[in-house]
């Protein structure tokens, strides 16, 4: 059953100061099933972030519409949790207060809030850091808090826009396992944007490959690797085959994108 229905969604940015309009995203159709983990893979400038922002309601499509559980999306809301690439924790709130932000907005009583916050702090491994301010945390810890903040709100779908893009390789690998572990236990619908091929395969049950400007969907591959997944899987034959295939797909696009600039 499809939970998120993207129909004919396109985005054209008007030209700045008489410049040409830029088509960031060609009209795109995509249907996402409940509890699926989808990664959108593409080179920079392929419109993958634009698509994610439209689903989040932070950007409006020039054409088409997005339906979540049959309801048309018109602006951001707590039913779609978002984790951004930039560090967007509220710097004046502690880790615990950041995670409680959405719950407080719902008007949830404090006792209940505390329980939920504590459980997510546990899940993302931040015990002992509840009262730290974001500035006192490493990049990986900040993104873990951001994931907890989005999940604590119990959204229908979790949207992640290259959330580990600014992290070093080792931290990034650990974060992938953490996120996957949470998904394997809680089974939320996840839409994850990345330009990292290995990341896209490791996390996903389905990889959507996007082409360079103007952005459109180029390939749609299921990833049939078994769960729970372990990092050692990244060296398996099945994984390598998928990686080789996606590398080819992406390479052609990256070359085009590079010529574009």
């Amino acid at each position: 059953m499809s939970q998120l229905q993207i129909t004919g969604v396109g985005r054209i940015f008007p030209g700045v100061r008489g410049g040409n309009a830029v088509t960031a995203l060609q009209p795109t159709d995509l249907s996402i099933a409940k509890n699926d983990f989808i990664t959108i893979l593409g080179p920079s400038g392929c419109g993958k972030s634009t698509l994610l922002r439209i689903v989040a309601g932070l950007d409006k499509p020039t054409s088409g519409e997005v339906l979540l559980d049959g309801r048309k999306i018109d602006g951001p809301g707590p039913d779609r949790g978002v984790v951004f690439q930039s560090y967007t924790l509220f710097p004046w709130l502690t880790v615990a207060d950041n995670i409680a932000f959405g719950l407080k907005e719902k008007g949830m009583p404090e006792g209940q809030r505390k329980d939920i916050v504590a459980s997510y702090i546990e899940k993302v491994g931040l015990k002992g850091f509840e009262n730290h301010f974001p500035k006192q945390l490493s990049g990986g810890m900040q993104q873990r808090t951001a994931i907890a903040r989005a999940l604590a709100n119990d959204p229908e779908i979790l949207l992640l826009d290259e959330p580990f893009g600014a992290l070093d390789n080792q931290t990034r690998a650990l974060m992938q396992e953490l996120l996957l572990g949470i998904w394997e236990r809680e089974r939320k619908t996840v839409l994850f944007v990345t330009h990292d091929i290995e990341e896209a395969i490791f996390l996903a049950s389905r990889v959507i490959v996007m082409s360079a400007r103007p952005g459109r969907i180029k390939a749609d591959l299921p990833v049939d690797l078994p769960h729970p997944r372990h990092y050692t899987m990244k060296t398996s034959v099945a994984f390598s085959d998928l990686k080789a295939r996606l590398t080819e797909e992406i390479r052609a696009e990256a070359v085009l994108a590079a010529m574009d600039h």
Binding site: G57, P76, V82, F90, P91, L93, E105, P134, K135
Partner: protein, 258 residues
């Protein structure tokens, strides 16, 4: 060795900072005790200290200082009460900004001191007039600076709040205001410094108390020692209030420095 942007130690910083005061007083002593300037126009440091002592013990100068401090704080607090909320609304809502911004930008350049004669006509020479001078001098500056600060709030934080379910009012109360609170406190600290200069101007004309009043009186008596003492007191109060403001900001907004 001096190298660009190289930090200096705490001790060195303190010694250097105090050194300049010593150099300054030394130059002043040299000019006055050495007889290079007339005693009538510039008192020497010793006379200044004696005059100051007399002012404090005999002429009730502490009362003047109290008056001046009260006026600055009164006018400044009134200005802040009006300007901070208005500035926040202007920064948050573009229509409010479009309505007020042109006028406030214009009013900002109206010199507060030029209002003194007009305000005397309107409000007499009582306390209302003094407070109004400070108010006019501060209110437009605070409005504009707060509006600019709020308008520059990080967009991604606002977006994050929306995706967490915040509505417009929640974004205002839970993002725009706390995100800019340290900035607003800094603006208030800065403008408080300017308010000090307005109060003296207000007291120079039509006043019967305050540091500025004492300075005008002393001019008539050619008591340059008293004038200098008055000016130094203003500087010291400014320094202390600035220090207190900074300490308070550091305490309130620990998350910024953490």
């Amino acid at each position: 060795m001096l190298r660009p942007l190289e930090p200096v130690g705490r001790g060195t910083r303190l010694v250097l900072g105090i050194s300049f005061f010593i150099v300054f007083v030394a130059a002043w002593s040299f000019a006055t005790f050495g007889g290079f300037v007339s005693k009538t126009f510039l008192a020497n440091p010793l006379t200044m200290v004696q005059d100051g002592y007399l002012l404090l013990t005999k002429y009730g100068f502490l009362g003047d200082i109290g008056m001046t401090v009260w006026r600055v704080l009164g006018g400044f607090v009134l200005a802040a009460l009006v300007a901070v909320p208005l500035g926040i609304l202007m920064g948050a809502y573009k229509a409010v900004e479009a309505f007020f911004e042109p006028f406030v930008s214009f009013a900002r350049y109206l010199p507060a001191s030029a209002f003194v004669p007009l305000l005397i006509l309107w409000a007499g020479i009582g306390e209302t007039q003094k407070l109004l001078v400070i108010f006019i001098g501060s209110v437009f500056q605070i409005i504009l600076m707060v509006a600019v600060a709020v308008a520059q709030t990080r967009r991604d934080l606002v977006e994050a709040a929306y995706t967490l379910g915040a509505k417009d009012r929640g974004v205002l109360a839970r993002v725009l205001i706390p995100a800019n609170a340290p900035e607003i406190a800094e603006i208030l600290r800065l403008v408080l410094g300017w308010a000090w200069t307005y109060v003296i101007v207000a007291e120079l004309i039509g006043s019967s108390s305050g540091i500025g009043h004492m300075i005008v009186d002393s001019q008539a008596l050619l008591a340059t020692g008293q004038i200098i003492f008055g000016i130094i007191i203003i500087g010291l109060i400014g320094l202390v209030s600035d220090f207190l403001f900074k300490a308070l900001n550091r305490k309130l907004f620990a998350w910024r420095l953490a």
